[in-house]
């Protein structure tokens, strides 16, 4: 599952620690999600969606679906 978390965070000039704090997770977790090593739970995805004010699809993309479209 691809995501735009790093870009969205950079656009808002937030550090990983600040984002982790707002999401109530560790900085390690934010980093693992950004690098694609860990897929977040559904509640955490909804929390991100609320925090960024974006639809889930604007933050996360299904890699297989993206490949099919190409």
């Amino acid at each position: 599952m691809k995501n735009r978390l790093k870009v969205l965070r950079a656009e808002r000039d937030w550090t990983q620690a600040q984002l982790a704090d707002a999401l109530e997770v560790s900085r390690q977790t934010v980093n693992a999600i950004e690098t694609g090593k860990f897929d977040p739970s559904l509640p955490l995805v909804f929390k991100m969606s609320r925090l960024f004010g974006l639809a889930i699809e604007d933050i996360f993309q299904d890699e297989e679906l993206a490949r099919d479209k190409e």
């Binding site: 937030w14 704090d21 707002a22 999401l23 997770v25 390690q28 980093n31 739970s41 955490l44």
Partner: protein
């Protein structure tokens, strides 16, 4: 961008860790008392031995509950790391424990297998699992 919610979460995690540390210390001390008390303090008096073991069990239950609470408040990735490390420790414990027992059964070792040796092996496997998880997801 620090919210009240998030600082509550961090504070809660810190409190959980401290609580877990206190319960761990209490359990270890009560275990030592139950193990060495009969010999050094009350000359194998049954009443005090039963009391010491009951206290140790109570401390153990407290430690289990504190650990459960601590795990429940961790985030998804931290829980995953803990799960993988615990699974490794449990698997190693079963395999190593049974082999250790077998060694004695077929007279490859002359001494009686000690449960403390197994606890040490499981602790090392758990520590290795935590280190491996943290390294993988850092």
């Amino acid at each position: 961008m620090k919210t009240r919610e998030s600082s509550n979460w961090t504070t809660r995690l810190r409190k959980n860790t401290i609580r877990l540390a206190y319960w761990t210390i209490a359990w270890v001390v009560s275990l030592a008392l139950a193990a060495f008390g009969p010999r050094f303090f009350w000359d194998y008096n049954s009443f005090y031995s039963i009391l010491a073991i009951a206290i140790n069990l109570a401390m153990g239950v407290g430690w289990i509950l504190a650990n459960k609470r601590n795990l429940g408040d961790l985030d998804g990735l931290q829980q995953k790391i803990q799960l993988e490390a615990t699974a490794l420790a449990l698997s190693v414990g079963v395999v190593a424990g049974l082999s250790y027992e077998l060694f004695e059964d077929v007279k490859l070792i002359t001494f009686q297998p000690e449960i403390s040796h197994l606890v040490i092996v499981m602790s090392l496997a758990y520590a290795l699992g935590i280190a491996r998880g943290n390294r993988h997801y850092r």
